[in-house]
Symmetry: C2
Subunit: 341 residues, 2 copies
């Protein structure tokens, strides 16, 4: 596609590994300060242990947020370690949101293991999420002179929760008619639910790295657009992706009647009544997928994703940033949304 | 009992009303910034509306925490309005913790109405709690120059969650033997679960009122001891209190097999085996209550509560505080624990 991510398949895993190595000791130290029971649930969520505490090497997350925080500090000309507190905070917030979202969405599995609420119970999972949330704030607040950092994090927290509220409410709204979900509402939801924390990660790293306000704002903007692009590409893969590559069931999002971007676009065309009936009946996801594609849902989604990737690029060139960090950032962005765009 | 609270029945409601009037507009403004759906759940929890949003005048909390924050600012010599952001933050945190604790404890009712999770569902109640938590941090972080304030709040948040974890785990432990819950463990739990936020409220108000570090520390200490005293008196009332006064079922805590302070003390005496058997069978709470009293559980609890009230008084006289605020603080403390000690 574009310059974004051309070297990604090679570079990105190295970047992720480097940042993980830098952040992991501080993250483990923070989690180690939790009540042991809560700490075990957190460690399980991070893939560090099994239920009961036995060590595990389960797949944790990719660690994109911690990498963005480290690279944010480096982009501001500071050493990567300046961004470590930011990295710890955003990883804790991300894990908190996964724990609670899985409860709200009734998702029983996460990264091919039982979700925390399935493994430990709903109440304990609520508590573990709260503990991670509190620990994230504490981690940042403990750093001297970081009021801007806490403000940056708390704004993202607010957006995260608002985005989740919007997403939950979308499910209850009709496919068609004046109450239907408009694509621009979806875009705003995705920016809050996914983009806000990605933007916060990079911005927070840069704040701790001593960046000027406009540098942090540009990195925040880049992360927010990245989040929207990522979410929309994820939607496309949820309908047309190869299950062997995505690890998701074919047409899973259609079977679950998710109001994804390609669907919402197709519902604005004359195909809407037939598509709505198909989706509602859940009868033949293959037919629905074909109809969405004919109605232009797939191509509109890819165009929208490209538009947001261009906005990422524009944000990264709007302010002076340290060159090596920008190369690493680009590889990450490409890695995140490279999948058959 | 002591000087504490001698004028409380007259003064305290006036103090609570005055502080509520000062805080309410800012609290309503903050809640009004939430997503409307989440804001309705929050307003329901505060007693401002019914399910669906119709205005209500349901009993909210007593507003002790917001009053402590206002009085903390006044104690530091600032006008009460200096403590309003602290008051808003601690009321939001308190309500967040009620929402999530009711889920964890399976408590279906709160203040004679269905708990939020019963009225709106578990997932939405998790979300509403998260939103209040995020809003609390945002409210404090938005104030210029408040890193000490965010640190004070985040330390209390950590304690709150740890105290709740400890409380949940107490339920699973045996009545007797080496794994039984010791009274000092209970005290530490109560300080974290109840005392930390009371202490935080007064300390945070004083921080925003420009207090010296030792003044805030003394107010924090006073609130923590108050929390332990309150919890232990609550335990005594849960066994021997008059249901007409407490609004709780007679012997309710015994029927629910709660590991309260008087019970834990009695379990350290030779009465332990018989008491454990009685509590486990749930047969005759009246007999258990009598046995706990004979074993000295009631008097030990009252002694312990008085000890913590004396520590509150010692903390309040350890630093110079504005006199009028201290009178109001004393009336509040007396109001909270005055009940037939």
């Amino acid at each position: 596609m574009t310059a974004l991510g051309s070297a990604a398949p090679v570079l990105a895993p190295r970047v992720l590994d480097r940042c993980r190595a830098l952040v992991q000791p501080a993250l483990a130290e923070a989690v180690g300060r939790l009540h042991p029971w809560v700490g075990e649930m957190a460690a399980y969520a991070f893939g560090w242990c099994e239920v009961g505490g036995a060590p595990a090497a389960a797949p944790g997350g990719k660690g994109v947020r911690q990498a963005l925080a480290v690279l944010g500090a480096e982009a501001a000309g500071a050493p990567g370690r300046a961004g470590v507190a930011a990295a710890v905070a955003v990883e804790l917030v991300h894990t908190f949101s996964l724990l609670h979202d899985d409860i709200m969405d009734g998702d029983a599995a996460r990264r091919r293991r039982p979700a925390v609420w399935k493994a430990y119970g709903t109440g304990p999972a609520v508590l573990a999420g709260d503990a991670l949330f509190a620990l994230a704030v504490e981690t940042l607040a403990a750093r001297p002179g970081g009021p801007a950092a806490v403000r940056t994090l708390s704004a993202a927290l607010g957006d995260l929760v608002r985005g989740q509220a919007e997403d939950l409410l979308f499910a209850a709204r009709p496919w068609t008619g004046p109450e239907r979900v408009r694509p621009d509402e979806y875009r705003a939801m995705a920016e809050r639910k996914t983009g806000a924390l990605l933007g916060c990660a990079a911005a927070l790293g840069s704040v701790l790295g001593g960046a000027a306000a406009e540098t942090s704002a540009a990195l925040d903007r880049a992360g927010r657009h990245l989040g929207v692009a990522f979410q929309i590409v994820d939607d496309v893969l949820g309908v047309w992706g190869d299950p062997a590559v995505t690890g998701k069931p074919v047409h899973g999002d259609l079977r679950e009647r998710k109001k994804t971007f390609p669907v919402l676009v197709a519902l604005r065309t004359p195909a809407a009544p037939r598509l709505a009936a198909l989706l509602e009946s859940g009868a033949d996801p293959q037919e629905a997928a074909a109809l969405i594609e004919q109605a232009g849902g797939r191509s509109a989604a890819l165009t929208e994703a490209r538009r947001h990737l261009a906005a990422v690029e524009a944000a990264l060139t709007a302010v002076p940033l340290e060159e090596g960090a920008v190369t690493d950032l680009r590889s990450l962005l490409g890695f995140l949304v490279r999948r058959d765009l």
